[in-house]
């Protein structure tokens, strides 16, 4: 019996991780829970929330599976369950109080999970929780303003409020959600948090928790109908308020991409790439047309799958090698082929290359931007998405190609099955969505668009992505590419001649010399360094917000020290103070005429 207890615990944990799926499949109708006064919590499953619940339903079991490996860690399991509970409350909530409750449960349980990592520093943990709580309190402030305008906490259009109130709600809620998606310069918690969190939990942070910020941002069009256009009119072919948001997203994407390129740590790179990817989402949401929002939703889905895949894969690599920096790994392709393919698929998705669905999402966003005639934003998006190729290449080159740069990397073996299964599932999902973009549009994106009062995009067939600007067929694309690949390979094999594998990794064309083992042949660490010579990139990489945060912390602590000093005196001082107050107040009152 005692020997079975860990197994039972794990099974229980895995079962609980399936609850989002269960909720998604079975929840119907509304459930009301009274609080106090006229306030009550309303739980119902809206199509928008259902989409995010779908992400949760996909992600939770896939992360739970590798988490359940090894000796059961009961606190981690319990906190993970709480986290899932919080996120489900958040998504099911039909009113802002429920949303906030879920939001906060998610925040603190994720924090407690984060500090279970042995790598979490005080700075990282504090940054994580303070940014997230600041976000939560901004949300609370926003919803209190909302309440003061409407007398109600129900999530509904804010129609009868004054302009000042509308802007206050927009700015407060917007800021709250922007902190969560990690928009610059409010992003500092993301690289620290994603880097220091337990490796598997980073997948949850990047794949699922950050998406709740996107959910919040998608609520804004619900509050301000007509895609924010009611707030401040229109600019060119889109809403003016959205234009601001879109630029915030684009600049975030650009800066974060360059920051990602310059990282030496895999998880930090992935963190910055998350910021950049969600920057695209923000840009698309700013456009607010059905094409762009459809792209944003698809991008959210793809980013979730990709980041789950990449973080789980790299968690496996870190588990097997103990190394997490680019120059400490290398040449794992022979030893960890599944991980190699996972990362390959992951970076193709991340870079938005055809035929994976990342391209479909980008295509929609690009077309949306052209449709809105916001071409400068298009250029900005293009800049960050091509620059993303460089960090994508680092992700695959650093760990998998080149030369093994540490003893661990030299004798690593493939990660355990519990890591491989999620990788394979996620790879399969990505490829499927890539072949059938029309299916993704029809089944996943269109219901959300309809719920947001936008025209559905529709798809003539499962394989086809169609827009007024033309489209493409995923099945044909995949068929053509696949056949070409097979035919070229076949021709190559059929032709006369033989292939010979190089005798040693040092058998290279090396400027006439023969390299030896002690030569630094792995280019992983230095890659992208030369980018600093480009003036714009050099300027971006030379500036950080660390100083501002540190300065703020220092000032607060100095104030705290000053005030704390008041509390260390002797009783005489306290009494003197009381008497002084006694003497001064009536004097003041008398001076004022004593008519109080």
């Amino acid at each position: 019996m005692t020997t079975n207890r860990p197994l039972l615990l794990k099974l229980l944990f895995l079962a609980v991780s399936l609850t989002p799926t269960l909720t998604l499949l079975t929840w119907d109708g509304a459930w009301v829970w009274p609080l106090f006064g006229e306030f009550e919590l309303l739980f119902q499953l809206e199509p928008l929330a259902a989409f995010f619940l779908l992400l949760l339903a996909l992600g939770a079991p896939l992360v739970a599976l590798p988490m359940a490996r090894g000796t059961p860690d009961v606190p981690t399991y319990a906190l993970f369950v709480l986290l899932l509970l919080g996120m489900q409350v958040l998504l099911l909530a039909g009113d802002f109080i429920g949303l906030f409750i879920g939001w906060e449960i998610m925040t603190w349980s994720s924090y407690l999970l984060l500090i279970r990592s042995t790598r979490a520093t005080l700075e990282g943990a504090q940054t994580y929780i303070l940014f997230n709580l600041a976000s939560a309190f901004l949300l609370l402030a926003g919803l209190l303003v909302f309440y003061s305008a409407t007398g109600d906490f129900q999530i509904a259009a804010l129609t009868e409020a004054s302009t000042a109130q509308r802007w206050a709600v927009f700015v407060l809620l917007g800021l709250a959600f922007l902190v969560k998606v990690g928009v610059l310069p409010l992003h500092r918690w993301i690289p620290l948090g994603y880097d220091q969190a337990p490796d598997l939990f980073s997948a949850v942070l990047a794949g699922l928790i950050s998406k709740m910020g996107v959910y919040g941002l998608l609520l804004l069009p619900t509050l301000f109908p007509d895609a924010l256009a009611g707030l401040a009119g229109r600019w060119l072919n889109g809403p003016t308020a959205g234009y601001g948001l879109a630029w915030i997203g684009a600049i975030t994407a650009i800066v974060a991409t360059f920051k990602a390129i310059s990282q030496q740590d895999i998880k930090r790179l992935l963190a910055y790439s998350s910021i950049a990817q969600l920057g695209y989402v923000l840009t698309a949401l700013g456009v607010g047309s059905s094409l762009a929002v459809g792209g944003a939703i698809l991008q959210t889905l793809v980013h979730t799958l990709v980041k789950l895949l990449l973080f789980i894969t790299f968690a496996g690599i870190i588990l097997q090698t103990g190394q997490r920096r680019f120059n400490d790994l290398g040449h794992l392709i022979d030893r960890m082929p599944v991980a190699f393919f996972a990362v390959l698929i992951g970076i193709i998705g991340l870079a938005g290359m055809p035929p994976l669905p990342g391209f479909a999402a980008k295509y929609l966003v690009f077309v949306g931007l052209i449709d809105a005639r916001w071409l400068l934003l298009l250029a900005a998006m293009m800049l960050s998405s091509t620059a993303a190729f460089i960090y994508c290449y680092r992700l695959i080159y650093g760990p998998f190609l080149g030369h093994a740069n540490s003893p661990e990397a030299r004798d690593a073996t493939e990660a355990p099955m519990s890591y491989l299964i999620p990788q394979i599932v996620l790879m399969g999902l990505l490829v499927l969505l890539g072949i059938f973009p029309g299916w993704a549009i029809e089944i996943i994106v269109d219901p959300v668009l309809t719920a947001l009062n936008l025209a559905p995009i529709g798809a003539p067939s499962w394989g086809e992505l169609a827009t007024p600007y033309g489209g493409y067929d995923g099945v044909i694309l995949m068929t053509v590419f696949g056949s070409a690949f097979v035919i070229v390979t076949a021709l190559f094999w059929l032709a006369r001649g033989q292939l010979r594998r190089a005798g040693s990794p040092y058998d290279l064309s090396f400027a006439g010399e023969v390299p030896t083992a002690d030569m630094p042949l792995h280019y992983g660490a230095g890659m992208g360094r030369e980018l600093r010579r480009i003036p714009l990139i050099g300027w971006i990489l030379a500036h950080t917000t660390t100083g501002i945060q540190a300065g703020l912390t220092r000032q607060t602590l100095a104030t705290a020290g000053l005030l704390g000093g008041l509390y260390r005196r002797d009783p005489q001082t306290w009494i003197l103070l009381a008497v002084l107050v006694l003497a001064s107040v009536p004097t003041l009152l008398l001076l004022n005429g004593g008519n109080s």
Binding site: L130, F137, Y147, A560, Y567
Partner: protein
């Protein structure tokens, strides 16, 4: 009036029990009584809610007019009395099963804790200014001695400081009472309330300032609360739990009660109370940021919450006042939990200093886990009761379109998060400091479940009130109404409406 329904029991029973303690020592029932008496009173209080909702219970024992004992049990007072009885019950339960320290066992703490309860109950029940002073001194003196009960250097120093500053506060308050009596010839609060308007304005101001300073010192408001961290640090955590959970709340209630009752112009009272509350909140939260000793940190946090409660009360608005009552309850729950956790930790480690506790969470998972729950409740994070009470306060402000307190409360909460999460992070730091593992652990047997039972009960209550706040909604709204409705109070005592 039925025998069981008299408010006098809330004061008389603990006092009687305290004064006949030699008997209980002989019969060896000290622990049982320390638990049983407040528990009985708690049940009595719970039973009275329905009655009091109809009309306040009034008990007058005339000694020599205008002197006499006048007790006034309305919804607000009942809520607090129930809370105080609960707090003492809980601490008693904790001491009975857990306390190994000799100074917390036996006659002395028995007498003092019960006197503290009697004093606290008296403070909120009394309808007479002189009685108020008497109860203030009863509660005060028992608190001074309780502070010093451990009988070592820091405890004695803290007790002495407490004694000095407490006496000064008493003097200030007494002066105010004397002045009122000289000016109006009345000591009954309702009568004073009616007559106060006729006093010359300058004298009104002087009386108000005297009372404010006296009660301000006692209820730990900003410019008068410099003694608090020292006292909280010096006394035993289980006792501090009572100070933070019971005593301050009683004084705070008295302050707000008097302000509402006596001050005719609510605008001025509002400005004074809210300013004091806001100042206390911000200063205390900021000062707490750099505290490296758990009890001092909790003391500052307690000050901050008191400021928040006063801010909400001071708005003199039914909705925020109900929220303030709620917050008062959830703060008591959380601070009881936190101080009792500190007491538990102190049994195993030598110091509650931040450095000494590094990594304690990995050695004592349950204890530190409870600390986390308490901290989350104080921070107002759902699903704990602290969230609901803060939400109630905040929505009250929002409904009244007053936004500066909301901003202030949220900023303060963020600062508070800054230090609580710093503690949590250090408690769960990867490497356990040698102080944690080496110190007393080897000597101390693991705590039994009975020790944790009161703490778990607190957690359960926090969860209950956080998820289902409607269970006490009626009591809170009634209490807020009773506190703020000046006319009703005067009418119920004197039978006439105020002018």
């Amino acid at each position: 009036m039925e025998f069981s329904a008299s408010p006098i029991w809330f004061i008389a029973l603990p006092m009687l029990a305290a004064f006949s303690s030699p008997l209980w020592v002989r019969w060896r029932v000290l622990d049982q009584l320390l638990l049983g008496i407040p528990l009985g009173l708690l049940l009595l209080a719970l039973g009275l809610f329905a009655t009091v909702q109809q009309a306040p219970l009034i008990e007058t024992i005339v000694i020599a007019p205008p002197l006499g004992i006048h007790l006034h049990l309305d919804s607000a007072a009942l809520l607090l009395v129930a809370l105080f009885c609960f707090a003492v019950t809980l601490v008693a339960a904790f001491l009975w099963h857990g306390a190994t320290e000799t100074h917390l066992r036996g006659r002395q703490p028995f007498v003092l804790i019960l006197l503290l309860l009697a004093g606290g109950n008296g403070l909120v029940l009394t309808g007479d200014l002189f009685n108020l002073y008497v109860f203030l001194e009863i509660a005060g003196i028992s608190a001074y001695v309780l502070t010093a009960v451990r009988d070592d250097r820091p405890a004695l120093a803290a007790g002495l400081k407490y004694l000095i500053i407490g006496s000064v506060a008493g003097v200030f308050f007494l002066l105010a009472v004397v002045l009122i009596y000289l000016q109006t010839g009345q000591l009954n609060m309702a009568a004073v309330a009616q007559a106060f308007a006729e006093i010359p304005p300058a004298m009104q101001g002087l009386i108000a300032v005297l009372a404010l300073i006296g009660l301000g010192i006692k209820s730990e408001l900003f410019p008068f609360n410099f003694w608090v961290p020292d006292v909280y640090r010096g006394s035993d955590p289980a006792i501090t739990a009572l100070f933070s959970g019971l005593l301050v709340k009683a004084f705070l209630f008295v302050l707000v009660h008097l302000a509402v009752l006596i001050w005719i112009d609510p605008e001025i009272a509002r400005i004074w109370l809210m300013t004091l509350g806001a100042l206390t909140l911000m200063v205390a939260e900021l000062a707490a940021l750099r505290q490296d000793e758990m009890r001092r940190m909790l003391a500052y946090s307690s000050l901050g919450q008191i400021g928040l409660i006063l801010l909400a009360f001071g708005f003199l608005h039914e909705s925020t006042a109900a929220g303030a009552f709620f917050h008062l309850i959830s703060h008591t729950l959380a601070k009881l939990l936190l101080f009792l956790v500190a007491a538990l930790l102190l049994r195993r480690v030598l110091s509650l200093h931040l450095d000494a506790l590094t990594g304690a969470g990995r050695v004592y998972p349950l204890t530190v886990g409870l600390f986390v729950v308490g901290a989350l409740c104080i921070l107002g994070l759902p699903p704990l009761s602290g969230f609901m009470s803060k939400l109630w306060i905040l929505q009250g402000f929002a409904a009244a379109q007053t936004f500066w307190p909301i901003a202030l409360i949220l900023v303060a909460a963020l600062i508070e998060a800054g230090y609580y999460f710093r503690w949590i992070r250090v408690l769960y730091a990867p490497a356990a400091a040698s102080a944690v593992t080496d110190s007393k652990t080897s000597k101390t047997a693991p705590e039994s479940w009975a020790t944790y039972a009161p703490l778990l009960l607190l957690v359960g209550l926090m969860l209950l009130l956080g998820i289902a706040p409607f269970v006490i909604e009626g009591a809170l709204v009634d209490a807020a109404r009773a506190l703020l409705d000046r006319d009703l109070l005067i009418q119920s005592v004197l039978g006439v409406a105020a002018q």
